[in-house]
């Protein structure tokens, strides 16, 4: 043990200073900690969506055959997507609403692309607990505001797919999309 003490005394850097052994100890343990964290990163990251899932992250939709008043249900990121061609009456109804009275205040303009106000494109996922609202299919219940109606807990959405009644906190989400031509959109 004498030799250890000898080394220690040599490692002293002045009074109350850090011994060389302490420094090496802290440096080694810290570096091992950095290494452990570096190993955890891939272990956690592997659970994120894989490349093939992300490859399906955008969807092209042909909207040429959707007549005013009709809607289609398709999928985007394996979740339902509603593409709806609004009638003039439905647009008027949506514009008539006092925005400040809404739970999630947004105008129809803010929820559609400039100059394409008749195309309402939203996720078909209720913002309450993720059910698929009714109203996109022919003859389905559109609820008391003429938009969408979620059968799970009774949330009603209006013709701009804004939440009007029921437990859902937000309007139906509008995904990122753009018109690639007059009759096609690219979502995602």
């Amino acid at each position: 043990m004498a030799s250890v003490e000898h080394t220690d005394s040599q490692g002293l850097s002045g009074e109350g200073g850090v011994r060389r052994r302490d420094f090496i100890n802290i440096a080694a343990v810290s570096f091992a900690g950095v290494g452990a964290v570096a190993v955890v990163i891939p272990l956690v990251d592997q659970m994120n969506p894989s490349a093939d899932v992300l490859a399906l992250a955008s969807t092209e939709v042909d909207i040429s055959s959707i007549q005013p008043g009709q809607a289609i249900k398709t999928t985007f990121r394996s979740q339902p997507l509603f593409v709806r061609h609004l009638t003039d009456k439905e647009i008027a109804e949506a514009d008539k609403v006092d925005v400040s009275s809404l739970r999630d205040p947004q105008t129809l303009e803010e929820r559609t692309v400039d100059g394409k106000k008749q195309w309402l494109i939203t996720m078909g996922v209720c913002t309450h607990l993720g059910c698929v609202p009714l109203g996109a299919g022919e003859g389905e219940n559109r609820g008391e505001f003429g938009g969408y109606f979620c059968p799970c807990h009774g949330s009603s959405y209006d013709t701009a797919a804004r939440i009007r009644k029921g437990p859902a906190p937000k309007n139906l989400e509008v995904p990122k999309y753009s018109f690639t031509s007059d009759t096609a959109i690219l979502v995602g």
Partner: protein, 439 residues
């Protein structure tokens, strides 16, 4: 293990002596669940449920490992392989029904085990660690059960997975990345199914490991008992084997009879018909409900319908649901009464039964549709649940005047059995310990 008068393991057969020298595993078993573990002599049948929970875990692991031999964890085939197990695999129907109903029985016995602990104050010093480890097991069980329910890839599986992972989406800022990370996609899919299968296979063995810690922690102070009075001497205990192996054996028989009745005569009674429809991401079942053992917590989740101080109702519901369980981790320090058993706490006893009724009401509301009057009842019952633990229990501990405790376990036993004439002769058998008159 815990008391100096415990019987000693003395192997007689040379082979057993040889093993004992090399790896004293038989000695460990003897001291843990054999004649070497002295147990209070007055345990009632509520003390059966620990062993029954262990049996339920074994049933789940055995049937589960067999089910995994016939299962394909891929969204294209998962539903089909489960149906194939039911129809084509020899005795496959038995394995699957035993596994599904076994989960329900596991929760039944664990809930009774938990309420046993609540009534008899088993969570109090020096057994806090036993209680905390038990809650860890309970949380692991809930995670395992949830993931197992997703595997058949029916409609309830899919939408249950969507709603439950959606809970994490309620967390501000990091919620949605967490949800995507948990699912490995933007909605439940192949990646989710595979990881749930992997973890559903792993977690039961983690539970088994925590069960060993739970028993280890229990055996340091030894088992509690219906009087809550600590063991004072050898006359207060009997060896675990054969006394409690026999008593638990009887309980096991009753358990298996009840299990068989459900398994063979009403195997789908606790299930949902919707789960026999293959998962369809474009169509939601009209009424999404979790399995019955989650209902009280589901009711608390749905009880929040309005935002408070900019905190969205959905997030409040999620926080309340998790708090309902996490709060129990603080129970040993919320109930400060030095008297353990509810039998000697008249005020506590009344509120204990109110709590039981409250939890049953919550369970009923959790299984009912999210409409009035169920939402309002859930709000009241949910508020009471929290009030019981955070307000009522600390107040009772402070103001209640407990009944006089028996001097010892033996004294209470003899009091109960000599009875009639002698009960009057021993008025108010006091708080002070008295010398035992047992042989």
């Amino acid at each position: 293990m815990s008391f100096p008068w415990a019987e000693h393991y003395t192997p007689k057969h040379p082979a057993m002596q040889w093993i004992d020298e090399k790896l004293p595993l038989p000695r460990l078993v003897y001291n843990a669940i054999g004649a070497g573990y002295p147990v209070p002599r007055n345990l009632n049948y509520f003390w059966n449920f620990g062993v029954l929970a262990g049996l339920a875990l074994v049933i789940q692991i055995v049937t589960g490992v067999i089910m995994a031999m016939h299962y394909g964890a891929n969204t294209l085939v998962a539903f089909g392989t489960v149906e194939q197990t039911m129809r084509d695999v020899n005795a496959g129907w038995l394995m699957r029904y035993a596994h599904a109903n076994g989960a329900s029985f596991f929760f039944i016995v664990v809930y009774l085990h938990i309420f046993r602990g609540l009534f008899y104050g088993s969570y109090k010093a020096p057994r806090e660690m036993v209680w905390l480890l038990g809650l860890v097991i309970f949380l692991l069980m809930m995670a395992t059960a949830f993931m197992g329910y997703v595997l058949p890839w029916g409609q309830m599986s899919y939408w249950g997975a969507k709603v439950i992972t959606g809970l994490f989406g309620a967390i501000p800022v990091v919620g949605e990345p967490i949800q995507t990370w948990l699912l490995g996609g933007f909605a439940p899919g192949n990646a989710s199914l595979n990881r749930f299968f992997s973890l559903h296979f792993l977690l039961p063995f983690v539970i088994a490991a925590v069960v060993i810690l739970h028993i280890w922690a229990l055996h340091i102070p030894g088992s509690s008992n219906p009087t809550g009075v600590e063991v004072k001497g050898p006359q207060d205990t009997v060896p675990f084997h054969p006394y409690y192996t026999a008593k638990d054996g009887f309980g096991v028989g009753v358990f298996l009879i009840l299990f068989s009745i459900l398994l063979f005569f009403a195997p789908n009674y606790l299930g949902h018909p919707d789960n026999y429809i293959e998962a369809n991401p474009l169509s939601t079942p009209a009424h999404i409900v979790p399995e019955w053992y989650f209902w009280p917590f589901y009711a608390i989740l749905r009880a929040f319908t309005v935002d408070f101080f900019f905190v969205p109702a959905k997030l409040l519901g999620v926080l309340a649901m998790f708090s309902a369980i996490l709060m129990l981790f603080f129970l040993p320090w919320l109930d400060t009464s030095p008297v353990r058993s509810g039998n000697y706490r008249p005020t506590f006893k009344k509120f204990f039964w109110i709590l039981i009724v409250d939890v049953l009401i919550l369970g009923y509301c959790g299984g009912a549709p999210a409409a009035e009057p169920y939402v309002m009842i859930s709000q009241v019952a949910g508020a009471y649940y929290f009030a019981h633990f955070l307000i009522i229990l600390p107040l009772i501990s402070r103001f209640e005047r407990p009944l006089p405790l028996p001097g010892s376990i033996t004294e209470s036993v003899l009091n109960r059995h000599n009875i009639k004439g002698e009960q009057d002769a021993l008025p108010g058998m006091g708080a002070d310990p008295q010398p035992s008159n047992a042989g």
